[in-house]
């Protein structure tokens, strides 16, 4: 048990180290920071002073450790556009993003999981086929197309809802709908296949053969077992709560982290990009860790397997 958790925590720490390394390597490969920040016309003595101040003349591994040290202290640089600390800019935007992604997450689960279970229990029925077709559409229709179609129908043609901005709760309806529909389709498909796999297991047949009522077989044998893989994908979805909104926020001009990222990338505002990258890594790693821990409690077999890997 301890070993299982130790391995998971080690893996999570490793992912963070890799993300920081990735940021460092990309940052150093992309050019001389002194020239990038001061501009190519800066006098040589100014550049030299800047290099000394920022430790750019130190050996590369020293800079690498320095970088870790700075990040650990929360020094993530300042935005090149308005000079404010990047972390502050990013943190300001988080509530707006969560205002979209949290309700969307709830709708996804509320729509997708029951649809998947129902489709699996009524395999081959009209509803099953409808769920499967919607799920395929959810995969093949990219979110920006779905978003624009919704705008076209509900904002342009029908005029019921605003097409962008953040002035009232009505502005949030279309972005949330976009996020929920795509996610619900993926979740329905996943839940359906998890359910079907469990329903095909011998213990389900045994239970129903020995006379346990079907409703009870489903509720006390099938659902708990199908829950285990479903929890994983839910964990992954929690991890993407911040990252998943990039496209949708851009379409609907919603001032969240995703839109901040797109604008920062377009302006090459490196401090902000780096800060968001770390934030995303942190949420992904944390949610994966929580899922792994839940797993450890839900499924003792996995603990045993973890001890062997």
């Amino acid at each position: 048990m301890g070993r299982y958790f130790a391995i998971r925590i080690g893996r999570a720490a490793l992912t963070i180290v890799l993300v920081v390394t990735f940021a460092f390597v990309v940052l150093r490969l992309s050019g001389d920071p002194a020239l990038m920040i001061l501009g190519p016309e800066a006098p040589p003595e100014v550049i030299a002073a800047f290099r000394k101040a920022w430790g750019l003349d130190d050996p590369i591994w020293f800079q690498y450790l320095d970088y870790f040290h700075a990040i650990a202290k929360g020094e993530l640089g300042r935005s090149m556009r308005d000079g404010r600390p990047a972390i502050q800019l990013v943190l300001e935007r988080i509530p707006a993003t969560l205002a979209l992604t949290l309700p969307a997450f709830v709708f996804k689960v509320a729509l997708g999981v029951p649809a998947g279970i129902y489709a699996a229990l009524h395999r081959g029925s009209g509803i099953d086929r409808a769920v499967m077709m919607t799920a395929v559409a959810g995969f093949t229709v990219p979110s920006f197309v779905l978003a624009l179609l919704l705008v076209l129908i509900f904002a342009v043609q029908l005029g019921w809802l605003p097409s962008g901005g953040q002035d009232s709760w009505r502005h949030a309806i279309l972005p949330i709908a976009t996020l929920s529909l795509g996610g619900a389709a993926v979740l329905a498909r996943f839940t359906r296949s998890a359910m079907l796999e469990v329903l095909g297991q011998p213990y389900i047949r045994t239970a129903s053969a020995k006379g346990v009522p079907w409703r009870k077989v489903v509720t006390s044998h099938a659902l708990p077992n199908a829950a285990i893989p479903t929890v994983t994908i839910l964990g992954f979805m929690v991890g993407t709560l911040i990252a998943g909104a990039v496209v949708v926020e851009s379409v609907f001009s919603w001032p969240g982290v995703g839109r901040l990222l797109v604008v920062a990338v377009a302006n090459r505002d490196l401090a902000v990009v780096q800060c968001i990258l770390l934030l995303v890594a942190l949420t992904m790693v944390t949610s994966n860790l929580v899922v792994d821990f839940l797993y450890g409690f839900l499924d003792p077999r996995l603990r045993a397997k973890g001890a062997h890997t």
Partner: protein
């Protein structure tokens, strides 16, 4: 034993007679059409994709001179669509090829050397799988700016970890027992074992994975281009066109709908073919 194999073959033959389902046939036809368009885009396009027709700006589809209408500058939507298909497919094919080659090579290296090499490959693929690719791609674009080769290379990092895992797993089991071990003890060099024996044996599984990665690459590229961070004007791609069309959603929705439909139908077609191939070639892959 021979009798059994014969009978088996006959049965299989009978089953495969209804051959290709209609949906798969349509999907193959669509992809074939896309490939022809990609190859001949400039030749079959009625106009140059940057050519302006200022008298026919924002004309609706069905116009005599412009079947799919024109955009704000009077550029022919059909011509732009054909060229966009070419660029988007070029990026998707290039990226898929890179990721398949890199992934398979790393998977083979992991299987061959085991130990530290294997651990590094597994660690990197875990890392790749656990971070949202869009965010990593945006970070790279922010740091390095933008160019077509960089975009293809960047998209080439998408999905490599799936090939690496598959190639590693299958190569390890081939090495542990069976034909690969047998050829090794004949004195074959590793490159002979991996390229002449293991690769052809696992090719069908890798091809099935390609049909899963390819549509995602198209979606990823079009997403980036839509955000204005992928293919840059005056060059055009499907995502780029949708992004441009978004500005004219109210007055000229056809600018957006034509490339959007193409994206959806193409990814759907590849998925349909992939599902069919998976059932036919590789029942072990879920």
């Amino acid at each position: 034993m021979t009798d059994a194999t014969l009978k088996d073959a006959r049965v299989r033959h009978r089953i495969s007679l209804p051959a290709i389902p209609l949906s798969v046939a349509l999907a193959v036809a669509w992809i074939a059409a896309m490939l022809v368009i990609a190859a001949l885009a400039e030749k079959i396009a009625p106009y140059g994709y940057t050519q302006l027709d200022l008298r026919n700006r924002l004309s609706a589809p069905g116009h005599v001179a412009h079947w799919l209408g024109t955009d704000e500058l009077g550029r022919d939507v059909l011509s732009r669509l054909l060229v966009s298909i070419r660029i988007s497919l070029l990026i998707a094919f290039g990226a898929t090829a890179i990721s398949a080659i890199v992934g398979t090579t790393l998977g083979f290296l992991a299987a061959h050397f085991r130990g530290a090499v294997e651990q590094i490959v597994l660690m990197l693929s875990d890392f790749q799988a656990s971070m949202p690719f869009l965010i990593m791609a945006l970070a790279v674009l922010a740091f390095f700016g933008n160019s077509l080769p960089l975009l293809v290379g960047l998209m080439g990092f998408f999905g490599w970890e799936r090939y690496a895992r598959i190639a590693r797993g299958l190569a390890i089991s081939a090495n542990a027992q069976g034909y690969a071990a047998a050829v090794r003890q004949l004195g074959a060099t590793p490159s002979r074992i991996y390229l002449r024996h293991i690769l052809p044996n696992i090719a069908s599984t890798l091809i099935v994975s390609t049909t899963l990665v390819f549509p995602e690459v198209i979606l990823m590229e079009s997403g980036l281009s839509f955000l204005g961070l992928g293919v840059q004007p005056p060059m055009t791609s499907l995502g780029n066109m949708v992004g441009y069309g978004r500005e004219y959603l109210t007055r000229a929705p056809w600018i957006m709908l034509a490339p959007a439909t193409t994206i959806v139908v193409t990814t759907l077609a590849v998925s349909v073919i992939g599902d069919w191939l998976r059932d036919r070639l590789d029942p072990t892959l879920q």
